[in-house]
Amino acid sequence: MTINLSNVCFTYPDTPDKPVLNIPSWTVQTGEKVFIYGPSGGGKSTLLNLLSGMLAPSGGDVSVLGERLDKMNQRQCDRFRATHIGYVFQQFNLVPYLNAIENIQLAAHFCEGEKTDIKQEIEALLTKLNIKPDDWHKPANKLSIGQQQRVAIARALINRPQLLIADEPTSSLDQHNRDNFMAILMSLIDEHNITLVFVSHDMSLSQHFARTDAMSDINDFSGAH
């Protein structure tokens, strides 16, 4: 089991009477690809931040890859995230003034363990993602949005994570780029047998996934009141 949440609740400290999340139980098996949809404000981002250890739950157990994130301190969470979890946002996935290779190197920098042939690995990954060598050394803000999102996949996968979290990664892409992005993402996920949690409001993407969860089903507000 990759993810196991039980009795997780979350409230922001400045609004203690308004719980954002209340999840009695939610699990994701290893290698599973889960599509979560729901309107904005439904607690999607908060859920992803709990899974990546960016936020600590107000109560309950958050177990990811067999580790209890709610029991870790912040430093341990940071290291765990760098080593085991890949993350792709809707936008701002890259440090704008670094080029594609440097952005990926930066991600590798925070990962535990020495990597010797990192450069070669990055180049192979970028080639696989259809980024031309001419664009490898351009600053990220000079790349197109489609290219940036593909470099973001490379950045998220460089540390060989077991879990990839994608937060509306296709929402700023056009139809063509979106299909292109999904095809590459899915083939890499299958190739490396990575568990995927993919959040979007775009239901048409659910065709790529075997499992589709509605955010309103995961998050049970009734229990919080």
Binding site: N49, S52, M54, Q74, R75, D78, R79, R81, A82, T83, Y87, F89, F92, N93, L94, V95, P96, Y97, L98, E102, Q105, L106, A107, H109, F110, C111, P139, R155
Partner: protein
């Protein structure tokens, strides 16, 4: 990777970084300059004279006497009679006595009449004696020995003839052109006012004024050089004299004796005491300059801090991204600090470069004011100075760095 991130981030914001860098460079240059000049000036001042126990001149302020006798600045208030000099020099405690006569100049450089013993007894710095780069001391009436600056700047060599001017202004209308002097010696550089002095014998000073009265030539009266050399050129009066005593313990007694001398109002000063008095006066100015320099620096460092703080807001996505890929909040703190240190280091390098260039190009002006400032601004204390500049910028940059830290913690 860390350094690369900081560097590229700064290069990405060229405009504001460049302006901040300029402000920092200006302030660091000012700090360096003030610090350097105050060290150098103090050294230069206290090295000017050593081995002289007492300086005797007409009764005036001790600083005034020191300024005109040693620094060749300002004008002597009055002359003293040759007889007074002879009487004091005859004191059994006196080991040596060197008379000096001032009042003439050559192209802005002061001329000093003295005796050949001057080259033997006068010393500067850590008891360095004067030594000759070329030639020898004067022995004829119309011989002149040049300080090293005079020889260099006016490009004189041994055997050349030059004409002295009456008075101390750089452009004098009354030239002693009827009696030219011959260069017989050039001194080694000393870094003291000696370098800017022309030394002639007392007889020489007497000789060029022999057919003058009240500062102008007497018309129709002209003696040839040969005629003059035959005359009795014993000086009637001199400006001041320096004394070396047999025992330093006697200094105060001899000083009191001179101050109580009844035939003429003369006084004796201890050069060391007068020098430190002079330095105390300069000290107020020096401290004021230093405080102003520090205030300018504080303003620049606050500017740096403000610039970094304003960019944190624009960088919230970047901070969030770095957090997601595993950067701890401390990394963000250090990143902003590193950016501040990089700007400070660049400004130190630029400031030191500008100051060195400035010192090289302003050497003429500085020596004109009697200051011998070394062109090398680096010394052991410079290191501490640089470290404290960096420390100050780290402290100031803690504000934006903490801001980035708390922002990172919130994601």
């Amino acid at each position: 990777m860390f350094l690369k991130l900081a560097l590229k981030s700064l290069l990405n914001r060229k405009g504001s970084v460049l302006l901040t860098l300029m402000a920092m460079t200006v302030s660091v240059s000012v700090l360096f300059a003030v610090e350097h000049v105050r060290h150098q000036a103090k050294e230069s001042f206290s090295n000017t004279v050593s081995g002289v126990d007492l300086i005797v001149g007409a009764r005036t302020g001790s600083l005034n006497l020191l300024l005109y006798s040693v620094f060749r600045m300002g004008s002597p208030t009055n002359n003293i009679a040759w007889e007074s000099f002879e009487e004091v020099a005859a004191n059994p405690q006196v080991k040596w006595a060197i008379p000096i006569a001032l009042g003439d100049s050559h192209k802005g450089y002061r001329v000093m009449g003295t005796t050949p013993e001057y080259f033997e007894f006068f010393s500067y710095g850590n008891r360095h004696q004067l030594s000759f780069n070329k030639g020898r001391a004067f022995d004829q009436v119309f011989d002149v020995v040049l300080g090293s600056d005079v020889a260099n700047k006016l490009d004189y060599s041994l055997g050349e003839k030059l004409v002295l001017s009456h008075g101390v202004a750089s452009t004098s209308f009354s030239q002693h052109d009827d009696h030219p002097f011959t260069v017989v010696g050039i001194l080694e550089p000393t870094g003291t006012p000696v370098d800017r002095t022309l030394h002639v014998s007392l007889q020489g000073i007497e000789a060029i004024h022999i057919d003058w009265q009240h500062g102008v030539k007497i018309p129709g009266r002209h003696l040839t050089t040969e005629q003059i050399e035959k005359l009795d050129l014993r000086p009637k009066n001199i400006t001041a004299f320096m004394l070396g005593l047999k025992s330093r313990i006697a200094t105060f007694r001899v000083q009191r004796d001179i101050n109580n001398y009844s035939k003429e109002p003369i006084m004796a000063i201890l050069p060391g005491v007068a020098l430190s008095e002079l330095w105390q006066m300069m000290g107020i100015l020096e401290n004021t300059l230093f405080i102003v320099a520090i205030l300018v620096f504080i303003a620049a460092v606050l500017g740096l801090s403000a610039m970094l703080l304003s960019t944190i807001r624009d960088r919230s996505h970047e901070i969030q991204l770095l957090r997601v890929i595993g950067a701890p909040p401390g990394f963000l703190f250090l990143l902003i600090e590193l950016e501040a240190v990089l700007i400070t280091l660049s400004s130190i390098i630029l400031g030191a470069t500008f100051l060195t260039i400035g010192l090289h190009s302003s050497q003429d002006i500085l020596t004109h004011f009697g200051l011998h400032i070394s062109k090398n601004i680096f010394s052991a204390s410079t290191l501490y100075f640089i470290l404290s500049i960096i420390a100050a910028s780290i402290v100031a940059a803690a504000i934006p760095s903490l801001n980035a830290y708390t922002k990172a913690k919130k994601f």
